[in-house]
Symmetry: C2
């Protein structure tokens, strides 16, 4: 088993009010680079800060790292368009940072990155891959991509109050500026990603498509962005068993998730880490609906549960956070 | 503990008769990219072949991978100037492939890469780092760098018959074309690397210098190239405990290794994997003096020995090689 974290950026995230994946707008683009370091080292190395939401909710990457420390699995970061330096080792697929989807042709590297990731996914020797993402603003681009594919499933948000109207307006703007219309990319998933998506969707869907073609078991670790990945893979004509592993917080927020996964022949696994308990410290923000998912957290919780060690995750995550805080200094 | 493999290239390797780190001259530049994949995945992913010497001796990266599978430690590949694609995740230090040291100013990225690696080495949270290299032709550039520092220690070779005269001629050519003379870079190690060295030496010595400054324990995993790294670190004025862990094959080839390490305040640990036994298959080439060391093999053997599992390394390596061969296929 290997966990693959596809880390990248879209400048769509810099529109205010769209994402909780950073304390301020200026810091948002650092989040995927920092998440990659936290997964790899349990610490930031080149990134200037540990990512938190505007209200201080810690990044889900800390949970994924904690599970990795408990279980000891391999993890690999794939560059899905990072815009800031990272000290984590990354595999390149030729993906550049995504431009705002209100601009014309915002993800020109999408078809090439999809193809490179597909070939890479086919060549990996692992029998099972767990694939997750970290990209602020990613639920908005995922919503646009689902629309381009002709699908109307709603997406989640890292904010406790989903800014649905703002997201709808951004998606409408994306279609106005692009060469495609909703539903017109049903048979050309790379074009959906190129014209209204983000580079992480291109890399993740290529990776999953290639892995399935090599008969590798794939767990999609995440929420509605990984659902968009499943849709892209199916629209690319790739069959094979897929599981979506997400958190209870995400599943509670998207009641139609069971129908949406079933519609794409994807099994759904929901895991509750119990961050609502008294001993959860800053993780209790998750129980209040902040962040909900991200950085493969849902997949990591599924792995912890499968190993019978889910009850150790809260303590292990608080330990990771304590080490992260000791660095950031006073 | 984390094993760091610095992987890169110098076109010096393309001079015929200088290196055994590839079956043919055309394949030499792929070796570090393939070694990085073997360490990471136990398999090649993007590299076209599994590296072997011209006589078929398997790459030492297979040994390092085997020990990693036995012990389960983290490993990170640092890009020290790769010239061919790799599917392994790598951390960038801004190092470009090294040009032939017969050319003027062959490693222009050396000072920048040294500085970036030093900062990275300071920031890593691990308490112990094991640092190795993979760069065909690297013993020749190491010889030139030692001379630039004013040191006359002899270097080893991946070939069973060390082509000493050829290497001396290349080193002489390097000094003819460069702005420095032997001994003149004693207080400017980055310049020794820039004018007569290779990018792996720049990155590895920066990484080790930074780690020592952060009071991280450092094991240099390798032979005379890692001795050159120790010399560069000491000439940079960086103190702190260093150990050089190498193979018995390398130590047998360089009788003055004990004196050379002592001269730089470096402890020496020599480990014999016993590849001369009847069950060693293609690994018996090591007992005949081919390859000897590389891709952190000596450090990995030291780790296996420290864990009391050295006697499992031969079988584990043959298992890695069987998986690698099954891919290359007819």
């Amino acid at each position: 088993m290997r966990l693959m974290l596809v880390a990248g950026t879209t400048r769509t995230a810099e529109r205010s009010g769209l994402s909780a994946a950073g304390a301020t707008r200026d810091l948002l683009l650092h989040t995927p680079s920092a998440d990659a370091e936290i997964l790899t080292y349990g610490d930031t190395v080149r990134a200037p800060v540990t990512p938190v939401s505007p209200t201080g909710c810690p990044t889900p990457a800390a949970v994924t790292r904690a599970v990795r420390e408990l279980l000891g699995f391999d993890a690999t970061v794939v560059n899905g368009g990072l815009a800031r330096p990272t000290g984590a080792p990354t595999v390149s697929m030729g993906a550049a940072p995504g431009r705002d989807i209100g601009e014309v042709d915002p993800v020109q590297t999408a078809p090439g990155a999809f193809a490179a990731a597909r070939q890479f996914g086919r060549a990996l020797p692992n029998e099972e891959l767990v694939v997750g993402e970290t990209i602020p603003g990613g639920t908005t681009t995922a919503m646009a991509v689902l629309r381009a594919l002709g699908e109307e499933w709603s997406t989640s948000s890292s904010l406790p109050e989903d800014p649905v109207e703002l997201k709808e307006a951004v998606v409408a703007e994306a279609f106005e500026s692009s060469e495609i219309e909703p539903g017109r990319a049903a048979h050309a998933p790379e074009l959906a990603v190129r014209f209204v998506g983000d580079p992480v969707l291109a890399v993740a869907s290529g990776l999953v498509a290639g892995a399935l073609e090599a008969e590798t078991e794939v767990v999609l670790a995440g929420g509605t962005q990984m659902l968009a990945v499943a849709a892209l893979v199916r629209h690319a004509g790739v069959v094979g068993p897929l599981t979506l592993a997400t958190t209870a917080y995400l599943a509670d927020d998207v009641p139609e998730l069971a129908d949406a996964t079933a519609a794409h022949d994807v099994d759904l696994v929901v895991t509750d880490p119990g961050f609502g308990g008294e001993d959860a410290g800053p993780l209790s923000a998750y129980a209040d609906g902040v962040a909900k998912e991200g950085a493969a957290m849902g997949g990591a919780l599924h792995l912890a549960d499968r190993a019978g060690r889910l009850d150790e995750v809260t303590t292990a995550t608080l330990d990771v956070l304590a080490r992260l805080r000791s660095d950031d200094g006073p």
